[in-house]
C-alpha cells in the first residue's frame, strides 16, 4: 500500500490523538504523585492502546472474510497502519516510560518490535511495488514462479533443438535434403556443437536453478555471452539465440521478483507471530494487573 495523499486524514487524526494524549500525560505527570499503569490516567492509556492493538489485529480477520461488508479493505489497512503505530506511544504513556517487571518488559519489547517491523513493512510496501514494476516486466503470480521457470526450461530446450532447422539455407523444396546433410558440413557442425555445449554447460543448468553462480545472473555478462553466440552462429540462427536470451532475461526477472517478494513479505514472518504473542501476553498482563 502506497502512503500517499489519501493517508492525510489518518495522519491528521493520529497526530491529534497523540498530541492530546501527550498533553494529558504531561498535565497528569506534573500533578500526580506517581505515574504508571495503575493510575486512572495510566489505565486509560493502557485500555486505549490495547484497543488500538486489537483493532490492528482485526485486520487479519477482515482479510480472512473479504466478503464481509464492514468497510473497505483499504480503510482497514490504513487504520491498521496508523492506529497500530499509535499503540506504541500510548503504551509508553500508560507505563510512564518504565518497562516494569519481566512480563511488562517482554510486552514492551514485543510491542516495539511489532510496531517497528510494521513500519518497516509499510515503507517496503510503499517503495518495492514501484521498483518491482520497473525492474520486473515479466512479473507473474509469486506462487507460479516455479511452474513458469520450469516452462522456461522446456521452451529453451525446444528452441535449441530447433536451431539446426533455423540454420537451413532455405525453406521449401529441397530443404529437407539440406537438413539431412547439414550435420555433415564440418563448419556448421562445429558451430552447432559449440552452441549446444554452451547451452548445456551454462544456460540449461542455470535455467533449472542447478547453479547459483553464473554469468547469466548479471544482465551485462549475459549480454556479452549472447553476443559471443551471435558471433558464433550465422545470422539465420540469431532468432533462436535472441529467443534464448529473452528466456534468460525472463528467468532473471523472475529470480529478481522472488527476492523482492521475499523482502516485501518477509517482515510478516516477524510481525505476525510476534503480534499474536503480544496480544496473548497483553491479555495475561491485563488480567494479572486486575488481580494485583
Amino acid at each position: 500500500m502506497r502512503i500517499d495523499r489519501t493517508h492525510r486524514p489518518w495522519l491528521t487524526a493520529s497526530c491529534l490523538i497523540l498530541g492530546v494524549s501527550i498533553a494529558i500525560y504531561v498535565a497528569y505527570a506534573l500533578r500526580a504523585p506517581r505515574v504508571g499503569g495503575g493510575t486512572a490516567v495510566g489505565l486509560t492509556f493502557g485500555i486505549v492502546g490495547f484497543g488500538f492493538m486489537l483493532f490492528a489485529a482485526a485486520l487479519a480477520v477482515r482479510k480472512r472474510f473479504p466478503i464481509w461488508r464492514i468497510g473497505r479493505a483499504q480503510t482497514w489497512m490504513r487504520g491498521h497502519l496508523w492506529l497500530g503505530s499509535l499503540a506504541l506511544p500510548l503504551i509508553f504513556l500508560h507505563a510512564g516510560f518504565h518497562f516494569g517487571g519481566w512480563l511488562t518488559s517482554t510486552l514492551m519489547v514485543l510491542l516495539i518490535i511489532v510496531v517497528l517491523s510494521g513500519l518497516l513493512g509499510a515503507c517496503l510496501q510503499h517503495v518495492l511495488p514501484t521498483k518491482m514494476m520497473r525492474d520486473v516486466q515479466f512479473e507473474t503470480i509469486y506462487d507460479q514462479i516455479d511452474h513458469i521457470r520450469a516452462g522456461l526450461v522446456v521452451e529453451a530446450r525446444e528452441r535449441v533443438q530447433s536451431i539446426a532447422e533455423e540454420m537451413a539455407p532455405g525453406r521449401g523444396a529441397g530443404a529437407t535434403v539440406v537438413l539431412t546433410y547439414i550435420g555433415a558440413i564440418p563448419e556448421i557442425n562445429l558451430e552447432l556443437r559449440e552452441f549446444t555445449e554452451t547451452f548445456a554447460a551454462q544456460i540449461e543448468p542455470w535455467l533449472e536453478n542447478k547453479t547459483r553462480q553464473s554469468p547469466l545472473n548479471d544482465r551485462g555478462q549475459s549480454e556479452r555471452l549472447f553476443e559471443g553466440l551471435h558471433r558464433l552462429m550465422p545470422e539465420r540462427a540469431w532468432k533462436t539465440v535472441d529467443a534464448l536470451e529473452e528466456i534468460c532475461e525472463e528467468k532473471r526477472q523472475l529470480d529478481r521478483q522472488i527476492v523482492l517478494h521475499r523482502i516485501l513479505h518477509g517482515w510478516l514472518l516477524v510481525h505476525i507471530p510476534l503480534s499474536v504473542g503480544l496480544l496473548v501476553l497483553g491479555f495475561v498482563h491485563a488480567v494479572g494487573s486486575l488481580r494485583y
Binding site: 504523585p33 506517581r34 518504565h98 516494569g100 517487571g101 519481566w102 505476525i272 494479572g288 488481580r291
Partner: protein
C-alpha cells in the same frame, strides 16, 4: 525484444491453474511461526507459574527493603472482602494492615482529612531503594491549600514546594526572641593567637561543634573531648526527641550540644586554689561550694605545715588575675585559714569562672568582713549565686530533620556565615531558607532520574517526616511477623 510471441492466451496458458491448492510457502511459514510463538508463550507462562508463581505478573522489581519477601506476593497482597470481582480473586491490593504488621508508625496529624493508604505514598515495584522518598505532590495535595483543611494556619497556607511558598525558618524569621542564658562571643573565640592549654591556637568550628559520633576523635586542646559529658549540667537530660535526633545517621546527623566539659573545660578550667590541682565541678553553686570547702579542709588537714607558714606570713602572695578575691580578714588558726581560703576560692570561682559565661546574680562578699562573718556567709545559701538557666536547643527546626554529615563537603561558613563575627550568644546563627535554596533550588526526583547539574534534591521528604514521631520510640511489633509470613527459613 519480443522475439517470443506473448499473447494473453499464451501467458495465461503457462500458469498452473491449481496452484492455490498447494498454498503459499510464506503463509505456511507465517502459520508455523505463529504456532511456535504461541507454544513458546505457553511454555514460558507455564514455567513461570510453576517456578515463580505470580511474580511474573509483577509490575517491577520490589525495593531492597522488601527483598526478603522474594516471590511471596501474598505477604503484602491480601484478598479483600468486597463484591464478586473481589471474591473472584481480583484486586488483591496491599492494605495498610499488611504494612503495619511490621512498621508500627504514628499517623501524620490528628486533624488530617482522608489520610492516604501507605501504598499511595510508598510506591513499591518501581525498584526504588528508598520507599520513604516520596513525591512532593503527596504533600502538596493538602499543603498547597491548607485553608481547605484548616482555616487557621500558623505559618503559610499554600506551600507548593520548597522554593514556592515555603515559609522562612522560624528562628530566623522576624520576631523570634532567643535568650541563650550565657555570655559567649564566637568572634572572640575565632581570633588568631588565642592561648590554649598547649600554647597559641587558631580555633575552628569543629573544635566545639561535633556530632556525637566524632566526640572522641582527636582534639588539639587535650587528649580527647570528654564524651561522657553529654549529660547536661545540673543532671538535666535530653528529651527523647533530641536523643532520637542525635542518634540519626549513626550519630552524625546533628551537632551534639556544646557542654562545658566537652567544649570549654580544656581552656577554661575551674581552678580555685593555688595549692590544689583539682577543678571545681561544673555544677550547681551549692555543689560547688561543698566541693571547694571539702577540698580546702582536706588540704589543711593533710598539710598543716603549709597552713602554719601562711598563718605566719599572712597574707600570702595574691593569686594572679584574681584581684577581687582578696579579703582583708586575717586567720589565726587552721579553721579560720580554711574559712578565709574557701571564701576567697568561692569569690574567685563565682566572679571569674562562672560569671565569665553565666548571667545571673552573683552576690559580692564584703571584702572587710571578719572571719566569723565569712564563716556565716559560707553557711548561708542566700550567698550563693543565682545563675540564669541556659537554653541551648539541640535542634532548632523541630518540625524538620537535618543531616550535617550529608553537608560535610560544604564549609561551615557557607551556611553559618555570621558565626565567625558573632558577638552575642543570643544571635541565631542558623542559615536562612535562601541559603538552602542556593543548592536545593526546586528540582525533585525522589526516584530518579538524576537531577540536573547544580541542583540538589528539594523534595519535602528531605527535611520533613510524614509520620509524627515527635520523640516517640518506634512501637514494638510482633517479633514473629516474618516467621508467620513464612519468610524465615526453618531453624
Amino acid at each position: 525484444m519480443e522475439i517470443r510471441k506473448r499473447t494473453s492466451k499464451s501467458v495465461a496458458g503457462r500458469h498452473d491453474l491449481n496452484y492455490f491448492k498447494k498454498g503459499s510457502p510464506l503463509r505456511r511459514w507465517q502459520g508455523i511461526l505463529t504456532l511456535a510463538a504461541l507454544a513458546c508463550i505457553a511454555l514460558w507462562l507455564a514455567g513461570n507459574a510453576a517456578w515463580h508463581g505470580p511474580t511474573m505478573l509483577s509490575s517491577g522489581p520490589i525495593s531492597s527493603s522488601h527483598a526478603v519477601f522474594g516471590e511471596k506476593c501474598a505477604a503484602c497482597h491480601k484478598p479483600v472482602a468486597g463484591n464478586l470481582f473481589h471474591r473472584a480473586g481480583f484486586r488483591k491490593e496491599v492494605p495498610d494492615s499488611a504494612c503495619l504488621a511490621c512498621h508500627a508508625v504514628p499517623a501524620h496529624h490528628a486533624n488530617q482529612q482522608n489520610p492516604p493508604n501507605c501504598s499511595i505514598c510508598h510506591v513499591e515495584h518501581t525498584g526504588s531503594m528508598m520507599l520513604a522518598h516520596t513525591a512532593d505532590s503527596h504533600c502538596t495535595a493538602c499543603h498547597a491549600n491548607l485553608r481547605a483543611v484548616n482555616a487557621q494556619t500558623q505559618f503559610a497556607s499554600s506551600i507548593r514546594s520548597f522554593i514556592d511558598g515555603h515559609p522562612e525558618f522560624a528562628p530566623v524569621r522576624g520576631g523570634f526572641a532567643f535568650d541563650n542564658g550565657i555570655r559567649f562571643a564566637h568572634a572572640a573565640h575565632m581570633k588568631k593567637g588565642l592561648l590554649g592549654p598547649r600554647g597559641p591556637v587558631q580555633m575552628a568550628c569543629a573544635d566545639c561543634h561535633r556530632p556525637v559520633a566524632d566526640q572522641s576523635t582527636a582534639w588539639p586542646y587535650g587528649a580527647a573531648m570528654r564524651t561522657a559529658a553529654f549529660t547536661l549540667t545540673g543532671g538535666r537530660t535530653l528529651n527523647a526527641a533530641d536523643v532520637q535526633m542525635l542518634d540519626r545517621d549513626r550519630g552524625r546527623a546533628y551537632q551534639a550540644p556544646v557542654t562545658y566539659a566537652a567544649g570549654c573545660q580544656a581552656c577554661h578550667a575551674l581552678k580555685f586554689d593555688v595549692h590544689l590541682t583539682d577543678e571545681a565541678p561544673h555544677a550547681e553553686p551549692a555543689e560547688v561550694r561543698a566541693f571547694v570547702a571539702t577540698k580546702i579542709r582536706a588540704f589543711a588537714a593533710k598539710h598543716p605545715d603549709v597552713v602554719a607558714a601562711e598563718l605566719r606570713h599572712w597574707p600570702p602572695e595574691p593569686m594572679a588575675r584574681v584581684p577581687r578575691a582578696r579579703l582583708t580578714a586575717v586567720p589565726h588558726n587552721a579553721a579560720e585559714w580554711v574559712t578565709v581560703r574557701t571564701a576567697e576560692a568561692e569569690q574567685r570561682l563565682w566572679h571569674q569562672s562562672c560569671g565569665l559565661c553565666h548571667e545571673g546574680q552573683i552576690p559580692d562578699i564584703n571584702a572587710d568582713a571578719t572571719v566569723a562573718e565569712l564563716a556565716a556567709a559560707l553557711g548561708n545559701p542566700e550567698t550563693l549565686p543565682k545563675l540564669a538557666p541556659t537554653h541551648q536547643p539541640v535542634r532548632w527546626l523541630t518540625h524538620a530533620v537535618f543531616d550535617h554529615a550529608s553537608h560535610q563537603a560544604v564549609a561551615c561558613a557557607e551556611c553559618h556565615s555570621k558565626a565567625a563575627a558573632s558577638q552575642n550568644a543570643n544571635e541565631v546563627l542558623l542559615p536562612s531558607i535562601a541559603t538552602c535554596r542556593r543548592c536545593h533550588n526546586g528540582e525533585s526526583h525522589p526516584q530518579g532520574p538524576a537531577l540536573g547539574y547544580g541542583h540538589a534534591e528539594s523534595g519535602c521528604f528531605l527535611c520533613h517526616e510524614y509520620h509524627a514521631w515527635d520523640g516517640k520510640e518506634p512501637q514494638p511489633v510482633n517479633g514473629e511477623t516474618l516467621r508467620e509470613l513464612g519468610v524465615l527459613l526453618p531453624r
